[in-house]
Subunit: 346 residues, 3 copies
Amino acid sequence: MTKTNPGYFFEDYHVGQVIRHATPRTLHDGDAAMYQALYGPRFALQSSWDFAAPGSKLRNPVMDDLIVFHTVFGKTVPDISLNAVANLGYAEGRFLASVESGDTLTARSEVIGVKENSNGKTGIVWVRTTGFKGDAMDLPVLSYVRWVMVRKRNAASSAPDPVVPELSDTVAAGDLIVPEGLDWTNYDFAAAGEPHRWSDYAVGEIIDHVDGVTLSEAEHMMATRLWQNTAKVHFDVTARPDGKRLIYGGHIISMARALSFNGLANAQLIAAINAGSHANPAFAGDTVRAWSEVLDKADTSAPSVGAVRLRLVATKGSEPGQLRGEDGKYLPEILLDLDYWALMPV
Amino acid sequence: MTKTNPGYFFEDYHVGQVIRHATPRTLHDGDAAMYQALYGPRFALQSSWDFAAPGSKLRNPVMDDLIVFHTVFGKTVPDISLNAVANLGYAEGRFLASVESGDTLTARSEVIGVKENSNGKTGIVWVRTTGFKGDAMDLPVLSYVRWVMVRKRNAASSAPDPVVPELSDTVAAGDLIVPEGLDWTNYDFAAAGEPHRWSDYAVGEIIDHVDGVTLSEAEHMMATRLWQNTAKVHFDVTARPDGKRLIYGGHIISMARALSFNGLANAQLIAAINAGSHANPAFAGDTVRAWSEVLDKADTSAPSVGAVRLRLVATKGSEPGQLRGEDGKYLPEILLDLDYWALMPV
Amino acid sequence: MTKTNPGYFFEDYHVGQVIRHATPRTLHDGDAAMYQALYGPRFALQSSWDFAAPGSKLRNPVMDDLIVFHTVFGKTVPDISLNAVANLGYAEGRFLASVESGDTLTARSEVIGVKENSNGKTGIVWVRTTGFKGDAMDLPVLSYVRWVMVRKRNAASSAPDPVVPELSDTVAAGDLIVPEGLDWTNYDFAAAGEPHRWSDYAVGEIIDHVDGVTLSEAEHMMATRLWQNTAKVHFDVTARPDGKRLIYGGHIISMARALSFNGLANAQLIAAINAGSHANPAFAGDTVRAWSEVLDKADTSAPSVGAVRLRLVATKGSEPGQLRGEDGKYLPEILLDLDYWALMPV
């Protein structure tokens, strides 16, 4: 019997199946320091243990929302995307509770859709993944839907009845979770780095985040390993015909989010991920820039906290505001098109 | 008087000499995060502070055994291998007590053998190195023998009486230390990532760990500095005629061990290092793969814990199971041949 | 209105102006581990939480002085040097209180001088920057003067009255702060790694630190992001005509300081920075070596602690002791010329 994990093939998934992913992971200050070195974020809430509760003595080393996302995502890789041909999309991502230094995360996925492709060689699998914390690992911290194209083990296998889940285009503003007790009435804009509050942003506004970062091999591999993501293509130059290491899409998300500080310094928390597309692959040597578009605004359950829906685009060469060509397809320079809700002081 | 450390030469060692190595080092969560980013290990015991004591509230941020090994090894470099021509072997390595976040380590070596080479220019020195923790630095955590070929300061120096220590081929199973209180009766195989328990492994079995990692300069230098290992050849392109930075052998050990998760996920702890050879040098750009062979199995003092003796081989191109050529020498692709005892749930 | 920070131009500064810099930053063990991996320091005081108070149970995870310097410096970049043409110098740098794991730092700068250059396109701005810690962010930890050449927004703007501050050539020995309670009467020289005490160093002595490190892109970018330093030239290959990423000068300071352990192992703390010049730019691929010259010696307020004034030079090729050519200019190989006070056991 082979002892190594061959990963799941399309035939191994059925709707209703629940997969408990391996390796609980305690997140801690060391992970925050690695994240700081890899992306250079300046959002005050994660940078300072005091910012969350100014004036109090509460120490609150809170993990960046994307640390939580990557950790949960990484756990799913051996079971969901080891034999994946493509990561097709995200939907209905919601951050449900904050994660602090010392919290241990686990993850579980439920298969909510399967559909064989007409070529008979691959199929699409939809899963809803949930990350948990707590002594009993029963407190959800993050939930999202992801769909991937997976190889069939055997082209001759018969196709399952197709089930395509109905997914929301966006998380409803009323479903956004504001961390308990969050009060930005006396928010310190000078400490946070920019004066722009929620009311200063207008739907349709485009923000050029100006700065660029040229990617390196060592950094994307360290990032990907930090989240225990084991997909071969990120590490092994022999895994692709072109001899290049494909950069984990989440590395681009984090880089773009960190760059977005310049213009969105007060978008302190990510409350939801509505949709996301890794439009083109990224490789070491690419220089990444980012721009954002304000898609929507909404109130939240906390009077001092507003929600802003943003499109965050990472590009290796196109101009701010450019996204698709005349054919409706992403421009070849676009690396990421992420649609998310952030929380800001009103 | 020159203030810098010239290192020891062969004439400076004599049997019975005890060398106290410099720079106590406190290991902590930050080191664990760096280790995670550099190698991507997924062993549950070190990944989750809760896994060691499921169901209890005990928080147990335990350091990976190889973090302990590298830290102790690094301390010996300025005194043992600064003028070494080659690192010839390891024996009788035993992990004696677990090291947790906040423990400070020191190291001491005793010279147990010296033998001048027939060329009159170099000699072999055997040392037994011990790492310690505790307020009084008197609790041993690791002990191992290493032998190195060292330059003579002066070819005209007379040769010492040769003393070659008798070393065990392998640590006896009865001498393996199981961490106090370790009870794997209710071990969570799903959380750990694989169902294979000690009884599922057969002597002679070979496990291909499948995954590969292409090495980068930045990563191996960061790893080596983390352990305060100062050997010039790892950092300085002018230190070797070929202009290449030689990768610290321990970097390959940790990379291979992390890769071995895929097939040996439940080999949670390293109990002993029986022998080890850095068969060929590794450089940035090499793609490392690993395979293991089950050499032996044994009971331990804990009923729920079994010991498995493994050969862990790192290679940059040969097939699993291939090790030596017809001439009995290691194949040129072999980077590491490590013989160790691991602990698994029975 | 553009939301992104355009940075300050020369016209935006006036003497007496106080700028409160953004993003409070909590330093912690994770930062210490990153620093360890990036530079490999071996100074016992920061390496071991026990060394500061041998024999006591006091745990003292103290941050390296340069971690404090880089953190404070990084905060000033968006306000002081985003449009800077050159970083001209440092003076009157004093470390005022130690920073431990968990302390949050903020920074503030006062403009103390402005002088337009004769070309009408740029001007020089002098600022005195102070870093703070404490619940009320009112405990100064570091103060230094820096002057930079900054672009004018509009060449037609009229020049301000020039104010050039009088700066000390060196911090007076009597102004050096010794951390409260520091007692090196029973200093452990063997643990620290070298036997040389304060009285063993002579003014005029030159110490070759021997070791070299070849720089990599990933490492300098990770270092620079760790301090939230956002200067484009360090990250973006399109930011300079030569397509090279300029390495943050502080990266060279830290590398040279770590290399200086070999010969200055007991220079445990930096008490003051008298002056500093980044003589030539450094790039990935350069191999850095370091040498020191003893410039002065002095007593301190603590009987067991001596102060030694050192010139620390980083070079990519020249010999120890070589600094300037016959024209009085730095040799092209010189990367750094730093003049600082260190504390050593007498």
